[in-house]
Symmetry: C2
Subunit: 99 residues, 2 copies
């Protein structure tokens, strides 16, 4: 686990918000109709809510993914992102003991 990369990923207001939204997708993205939330939330919905351009949000999601904080699943023309909870648990332990 690359702590520095994780902390950099968490050092942005919008990226922190995205992670929070993904914690409760049903509440945060009432408009998503294409799929259940098991696979996550598609980029377009996240982008609308973030209020930034599509390219920026796509970039942010890939930063979060490289840090291991989210994972993605492609379904047809959509890419769904969801939290990777194991990384959060690991991170919490790392802060308790390794930092």
């Amino acid at each position: 686990m690359k702590q520095l990369e994780i902390f950099k990923a968490l050092s942005n207001k919008t990226r922190l918000e995205i992670l929070l939204w993904l914690k409760d997708p049903a509440a945060s993205f009432p408009e998503q109709v294409h799929a259940g939330f098991e696979v996550g939330v598609c980029v377009g919905e996240i982008q609308k809510k973030a209020g930034l351009t599509q390219s920026t949000v796509s970039e942010y999601l890939s930063i979060l993914q490289r840090a291991g904080l989210v994972s993605s699943t492609r379904v047809g023309q959509w890419t769904y992102y969801k939290r990777n909870e194991e990384t959060f648990v690991e991170l919490s332990k790392i802060i308790e003991s390794d930092i």
Copy 2:
């Protein structure tokens, strides 16, 4: 607690190292003779070990302090910095539940 400020403070290799060194000052700073380690470690010792300029290290320590990760005590002409463990505990909890 301002999460964003904390994550930014943790988004730098040298600052992460400083925090690690301050975890075991006796092992990390064998040369410090001016005081016991209860008050912390003085800027000069940290600077030598970091290998950056005095101004940079002083700046880094104040970033860590603004984030609540360390605290400082002035004794004579020295400023001693030590970890603020409560913030780490809080942060770990925040990651478990609030992020």
